[in-house]
Subunit: 248 residues, 2 copies
Amino acid sequence: MLNERTVSHSVECGDCPIRHRAVCARCESDELERLEEIKYYRSFEAGQTVIWSGDRMDFVGSVVTGIATLTQTMEDGRTQMVGLLLPSDFVGRPGREGSAYDVVATTDLVMCCFRKKPFEALMERTPHIAHRLLEMTLDELDAAREWMLVLGRKTAREKIASLLTIIARRDASLNLRTPKGSMVFDLPLTREAMADYLGLTLETVSRQISALKRDGVISLQGKRHVTVPDFARLLEEAGDDSDGGMLA
Amino acid sequence: MLNERTVSHSVECGDCPIRHRAVCARCESDELERLEEIKYYRSFEAGQTVIWSGDRMDFVGSVVTGIATLTQTMEDGRTQMVGLLLPSDFVGRPGREGSAYDVVATTDLVMCCFRKKPFEALMERTPHIAHRLLEMTLDELDAAREWMLVLGRKTAREKIASLLTIIARRDASLNLRTPKGSMVFDLPLTREAMADYLGLTLETVSRQISALKRDGVISLQGKRHVTVPDFARLLEEAGDDSDGGMLA
DNA sequence: TCGCGCACTTGATCTGGGTCAAAGATTTTT
DNA sequence: AAAAATCTTTGACCCAGATCAAGTGCGCGA
């Protein structure tokens, strides 16, 4: 859900303020009407668990506002975040019974859900929706594998820079700003959540953010508001060769 | 491609000695005949690169014999393996232009390929194939995310045990042995390749294998042939709570 | 306004795994 | 069968990041 190539196919959804990236624009109105019929909203407070790993999950949907995370936990409490869900991201596993991960609301959260059974039935009848879902799942697979490189081979400093890069890009694409040079955004995660995403401790996250600040790669207003004076420099710190087509 | 829940839908393919997990058993014979028409074989020697990251990839297919790996590389040479392709595993990204990773033959390798354009056309006409691909991609996504936990949070010893667990399971399912208690299999990877999969150095891999041997968790005949006297013990060493439904 | 709680920072110390180096062991070449 | 190349093991040492331990600062309820 961290890849932007899918946005173009999205469509406005009734009274949602966001676009559902799950739904294909080429699908005709009668299918969209059917989607409206099986649609409902759910709200969660910050810190609330949307669904536990292994539990039956009888819906799919998109994040409307707020942030949710996908995490895996070992018995001894070690946790690894395996996905970050920002507004417009899709949640759910069509064709699967339960959830594979804990889904947790990191901030107050509103989701637009579709009941799974009818959604799957609609998918059967509407090839475009199945193709969109395949596209999206491939995007998520790419993002997950790119993150494997971050987790397995990057230093703490590179990990922080990589995360900032991703958040900055997502933020820029949501706000339709053209990120030439400097960028400004809010960190949607606590230091601890960042640590769980990056396979670090929260102390190391804090130290590396301080180091990036000291070295002029970023500056902070308060604890969460970030200014990146030179995005290319940040990419360099992330050890990232590509700019993901976001610059120029 | 490390998840076993998809095997049941597979189908024998002409003269391939393996089952293509990509192709749905419910598809009728005329579609299978069309698949035969666009099918061809490719062989690679150990060490040969099947395709470079970013290069145009005009086929999809399955591994028939041998092992291939998916790897990502940083400019400075650090590499992370993001996928391990064993016989019957699917390779390819329907709907995508190029490869996202380097695909490398780790041993001598034979692949059964389908030309991508006609395969995609067939997919358009045959919803079952699209659904099978979505299933498979979800399996790979689950495997990738499970691996994120391994890379981000497990110790070197747990990482080695996790890898052995996966190889043992795959091997058991290919050979249709029921893995009650002890298991025997060959390591299909060099120490260096294991290190690249696990985000370690080859020295650490070697040391941890020696430690598991010393502690009686495994024993080695030669450098590659592994005996696991007690699979439950290995799972415990991997920090893995679930047995993945392979035991009992 | 006070004080409590939570998120964050910073310091001191420890350690798991990396790095560097030197041998085995196995396979391949000649 | 000797030589060369490759893969693997093991040892000695080091360092990035973990752990343990105080703090700091901000928001919020009383």
